[in-house]
Symmetry: C2
Subunit: 309 residues, 2 copies
């Protein structure tokens, strides 16, 4: 039996790293968002998969939380001679992953297979799995029009005001074959952006069905601490979407699928209103600066799942 | 009126550099082979255009004759972790050109337009023009089967024995719109590989028609000096194709389209048999080590064209 950790982005990668210190490779599958995957200069880029891959391989840039450590930028510097569109940070070493992925897709390999090969070559013993091998793309409807995810997130640095999120599927996206739906013992929703990282995962019909029909517990970690997002535009987006910018706001967003919810100690005063939604609350330090912070939060999640089982 | 210089590969780029010291930008168009263009890891790569571009921009790797000077290899080193197919030398800076080209093609720009932009950004005042914007791909039929050009040339290092060349056109390739057929005053066929660099150019119907119906002279420079190729597999291929491996062998190959033929002084003894084909011969040092060698040979070509006009 395995726990699924639903993740995307830097916050999710941090908790995922913690989980690898608490669970064996057979006990957890990291199910990763693909809504922000895109094509750039003909390359197939999967930013959330790469962030997690670099994190678990121990080669992530610690100061940004994404990209490679010891990165070089000769290609991007040169590209600026020719091209204005150099807003996406393509490092020389990082490019190798995009080239390998793109070449492999052209040869007919699935994203699941490609990700498995990359993990294996980088010495990662844990399973990193894209939620689907199909095309599933987040579009952000804003006061500047309908934007592709990377246009919104990187090029325009989340400045446009968001009115709605859409998740476009070319054909109905089926779950990655690496996820065995009858072997799930629990789900952890990482403290990732609900709209940009988690909702696209839940858009896959089979994933949604698993959550509705489940006999195992689901626990989320709040990405909002003290009424702010720890990183990224979660709080800004919640405000623009007319939601209460608190951990409770996120709990309401997830309430149909949650059994338990982990909030930071500073948010203790929200406990009663969350429990009124029928969700059990556990408090624990949720800001992950050090590896110990990550391991401790991961350990709390796993304990909480055990309690709820 | 302009001279067309038909070119591909390192030998052609050397003479082309010489021609830029003899002719003004308005007086010459470099018409480049695209038969060895290919897709690699999803990138659109045009090796002959790039070799000439780097040469005329003064940033070519002088020791190899292709690729960038001051190149870095972080991406390729990293790619080797994932991929066995790292036979094509993708330098970090060189990659920028491939990314820009690939992205531009995806946006609907033609190879002619893209090449013009690249030249302009690299400060090249001369016109480098792909012979066609359409797909035209050289295939090499060998004792190891039918091979894509790069498989033969780079991956297998020209080792298979060649029996035939084929030039595949997805649709009949039309001449690049940058080549004005009524403004040509002469053609120089550079000392490039006849089968791999020049014949694919002549496969474009309009180019072949120009050569048949012309009222201007055509001069070629022999790529064979002293019964050897100066660089690359020309001599080996000629031998495998049952041709005489001499400058005369190449003259026979081109004889229908040549008015003049430049051979090296060491090949003086071939003069009579070449002139028997109805081709005028001029002797000049044809091995281009220094910039002066290139300029001198270019100057001889232009004088020879003048003489034949």
């Amino acid at each position: 039996m395995t726990i699924l950790a639903l993740t995307g982005g830097v916050g999710g990668a941090k908790l995922s790293l913690g989980l690898t210190h608490v669970l064996d490779p057979s006990e957890v599958i990291f199910v990763v968002n693909v809504g922000d995957d895109f094509e750039h200069f003909g390359l197939s880029i999967s930013p959330d998969i790469d962030t997690l891959t670099y994190t678990l391989a121990g080669i992530v840039n610690e100061s940004t939380g994404w990209g490679r450590e010891d990165e070089a930028w000769d290609c991007l510097e040169e590209l600026k001679r020719f091209e204005a569109d150099t807003w996406f940070q393509l490092g020389d070493r990082d490019l190798a992953l995009h080239l390998f992925r793109t070449g492999s897709i052209k040869r007919g390999r699935s994203l699941t297979e490609i990700t498995e090969i990359i993990c294996s070559r980088l010495g990662i013993k844990y399973r990193i799995v894209p939620v689907t091998d199909a095309s599933l793309r987040t579009r952000v409807l804003t006061d500047q029009g309908s934007l592709a995810f990377q246009d919104y997130f990187v090029r325009l640095q989340c400045n446009p005001k968001v009115s709605k999120l859409e998740y476009h599927q070319r054909t109905p996206a089926s779950l990655s074959p690496a996820i065995k739906t009858d072997q799930i013992s629990g789900i952890v929703i990482c403290p990732s952006n609900p709209f940009l990282s988690i909702d696209p995962i839940l858009e896959v019909d089979e994933m949604r069905a698993i959550l509705v029909e489940r006999e195992f517990p689901v626990v989320a970690v709040s990405p909002i601490v003290g009424d702010r997002s720890i990183k990224g535009p979660t709080a800004k987006m919640m405000s623009e979407l007319g939601m209460q910018v608190t951990c409770t706001g996120v709990a309401r967003h997830y309430h149909e699928i949650l059994d338990g919810y982990m909030i930071d100690n500073t948010d203790a005063h929200h406990t009663a209103e969350i429990e009124a939604l029928g969700i059990r609350v556990r408090m624990a330090p949720s800001i992950m600066h050090t590896l110990d912070d990550k391991i401790q939060l991961a350990s709390n999640c796993v304990d909480f799942l055990d309690e709820l089982t």
